[in-house]
């Protein structure tokens, strides 16, 4: 049942991200709903489902966006694992730590992209700090809002 709910949530994330891309592209560029989903799952579920759902979210993002298939799957899997690990070591159920985690994902992803690009011999342009700051803030704000909504959904 939990997996079904998670699957529905992932479908909703896909739909919302597409709608944002169509109608609010500026917002879509500054927040990554798939990363927020992976962080949420990693903080609220055990690591096995978190890894599976995180990887699924990344692959869904790859399928929707014009990116290399597996790139976001790899990043979201790693993100879910790291956040899950941090969540098991630290108390991350408060607003500020969660904001910090969501903000950090904006930096984590380009760093992972850079590592993968180097490993695969591909060219990669690292985003500017301003862009990263905007993405971090966008992820943090939208993520906290999503967490707040999710907490109020019927279980």
């Amino acid at each position: 049942m939990k997996m079904l709910r998670a699957g529905l949530a992932l479908g909703a994330v896909c739909l919302l991200q597409m709608l944002l891309g169509l109608h609010l592209p500026a917002v879509a560029r500054r927040c990554d709903l798939f990363s927020i989903f992976a962080v949420y799952i990693a903080l609220t579920r055990t690591q096995r489902p978190a890894l599976i759902l995180g990887s699924s979210a990344g692959l869904a993002q790859d399928a929707l966006a014009d990116t290399i298939l597996g790139l976001n799957g790899f990043k979201k899997t790693l993100l879910a694992y790291l956040v899950g690990t941090l969540g098991s070591l630290f108390m991350l159920n408060q607003t500020v730590p969660r904001f910090g985690i969501l903000f950090a994902t904006a930096f984590f992803e380009p760093l992972t992209d850079l590592g993968l690009a180097l490993a695969m011999g591909q060219q990669f342009v690292f985003p500017s700090p301003w862009d990263l700051l905007q993405r971090g803030l966008g992820n943090g704000v939208v993520g906290l809002l999503a967490f707040w909504i999710a907490a109020r959904l019927p279980s």
Binding site: Q47, L51, G70, L71, S88, L116, M120
Partner: protein, 280 residues
């Protein structure tokens, strides 16, 4: 906390998911050589094994091809040897046929010379049991019209005379027999004598007078005076001339016919015309 820690070790799942995504990426990303990164990675990882496999395969294939070549060469060698053997037999048979044809052609010339009924061709079926062929057995006898004292010749010269005639087989006394005697003369000087066998491989020309001109190499032919052998048939060549012993001298003659190798002969029932060599 312990439950959480126990759940913090899904390393295998993490590894599998990351690997899956990496594989997906690698299959999508194009490499420096234009192929997908996955293909290039797999190729570079597998290339040593592929090279080793190729080396082994080519080595085995080479060995097999070498073995197959050797096998084929061996088979061909056997086939060629068999062919050589077969051809050798054929060549020998052809040579035998050729020689036989030559002999028979010569005999046929004699037969034509004697007329259809004046000559009987016969095969030599046996020779004297020991030493030079003093006597011969031929495959024609009284039932073929062969009778005692008929001369026996071959294409090269005189062989001897019939001394016994049975139905189907006859015994021929060759000119090598010490009991034989053939009236003869030297073709060059017309010196006459009697050719007698010495019991070996040569004959002796008796009754040659001391002053007769005889030289080694002189041809000895029949004189026809014995009324057995036709005149002018070659008997042999003078191979040695001895010093005078009283009134005569010793003249050794080697028969022209090789009696050891004789295979076909002619028995003359009617007298042949004189051979051209019979007259000087």
């Amino acid at each position: 906390m312990p439950r959480v820690l126990s759940q913090r070790k899904p390393y295998l799942l993490l590894f599998l998911l990351l690997s899956l995504n990496l594989i997906l990426m690698a299959s999508s990303v194009r490499g420096a050589r234009g192929g997908s990164l996955l293909e290039e990675t797999v190729m570079s990882v597998a290339s040593p094994f592929l090279k080793a496999a190729s080396w082994i395969t080519s080595g085995v294939a080479g060995l097999w091809a070498h073995y197959a070549d050797l096998r084929e060469v061996e088979l061909e060698n056997r086939r060629l040897r068999a062919q050589v053997g077969s051809l050798t037999l054929e060549a020998r048979a052809a040579e035998e046929t050729r020689q036989e044809a030559r002999r028979l052609r010569d005999l046929l010339a004699l037969r034509e010379e004697a007329g259809e009924g004046g000559i009987v061709a016969a095969r030599v079926i046996a020779r004297g049991a020991s030493g030079p062929a003093r006597t011969l057995l031929i495959g024609r006898g009284s039932s073929d019209g062969v009778s005692v004292n008929l001369p026996v010749i071959s294409s090269r010269g005189v062989v001897g005379r019939v001394i016994e005639a049975a139905p189907g087989v006859s015994k021929v006394q060759s000119i090598l027999d010490p009991n034989s005697g053939v009236a003869a003369l030297l073709q060059r000087t017309r010196v006459q004598g009697v050719l007698v066998g010495e019991g070996g491989e040569t004959c002796r020309l008796d009754f040659v007078s001391e002053g007769a001109s005889v030289e080694v190499g002189d041809v000895v032919v029949t004189s026809g005076l014995d009324e057995i052998y036709p005149k002018g048939r070659i008997l042999g060549l003078v191979v040695a001339v001895g010093e005078a012993q009283g009134l005569t001298r010793y003249v050794q003659v080697r028969p022209e016919v090789d009696l050891q190798r004789l295979e076909e002969v002619l028995v003359l029932r009617a007298p042949l015309t004189a051979a051209p060599g019979g007259e000087p």
